[in-house]
Symmetry: C2
Subunit: 173 residues, 2 copies
């Protein structure tokens, strides 16, 4: 049975929640990266992602400027790197080298792939909506790559306070 509760309290029941990393090219060279939890598929054909990215984020500025970015699924051993890039601003620092994230060139865009991600999706900006307090960035996937390790799994936010971990299904089918 349900009991009425505060909206933010009910939302704490959402975990585990998926998390992605978003890379963008910096104008002076190099790249920036941030962590995003507000992410969903927004179209199947062509494949599009929706990302909720605060308009104060450096990534937001770079997405608007470059009109392209990479959406990467971090693997479950990347909690330390995701926590580092997800809790610091990117202006005036190099979060990729500071975090130790390994990058490699993308196929169709200038933002880099994350070499150790489960998969990377190269996106071109379609549009930006804003129904509430956060811009919703829609990107069309123009190329994709996956990790050569077939069994590698995604990282999740498993509870409040940026607690990150892999997860396992209770049963196989």
């Amino acid at each position: 049975m349900q009991k009425k509760t505060n909206i933010q309290k009910a939302l704490k029941r959402k975990y585990p929640e998926q998390i992605v990393l978003v890379t963008t090219k910096k104008p002076e060279g190099g790249a920036n990266v941030m962590a995003v939890g507000w992410v969903a598929i927004a179209s199947e054909e062509p494949l599009m992602f929706m990302l909720g990215i605060d308009d104060g984020a450096y990534t937001y500025e770079l997405v608007k400027k470059n009109r392209e970015f990479v959406v990467a699924f971090p693997n479950e051993k990347m909690a330390r790197e995701v926590l580092m890039v997800g809790t610091r601003h990117g202006r005036g620092r190099d979060k990729i080298s500071e975090s130790g994230l390994r990058i490699q060139p993308a196929d169709k865009i200038k933002a880099p792939l994350l070499a150790d991600a489960v998969a990377n999706f190269e996106c071109r900006l379609v549009c930006i909506y804003q129904p509430g307090d956060c811009p919703l960035i829609i990107g069309k996937v123009v190329a994709a790559s996956e990790n050569k390790k077939a069994g590698l799994r995604r990282l999740y936010t498993v509870r409040a306070g940026y607690k990150l971990s892999g997860v396992r299904p209770l049963r196989k089918s």
Copy 2:
């Protein structure tokens, strides 16, 4: 290291993926329910959800007509019910009674809460976007409820072919 691959093949690396149930009031009385995997938070204050719902779905018609709906997190023991309501059309049938889903009245809207869900969010329609092949429904949360059982956990799609299960973090912190 990454290897270039087909976009849909890379997307198969997304699991586990969250899943929600969406309830809507039917004009003739009673309610409909469907399962949605394309879901994300779209605003924090006020809280909004984004749902990707095909324009051929009965739920899409009812959301446009009623301008309100409930987003519920199914609990990890509801795989059978979610599979049933997620793979059948709702026009001309009563998926709620057929599936055995238990409902209870919502606080502010006419669509029902799911009594056994982890949490329910009563939403009013804000707008509908369509950047690609699927309408993206934005709902503002106007009331919320949670299950009286504190430890109850969400259900996930854990692999392709509608395989549903609860998940557990690999570690607690």
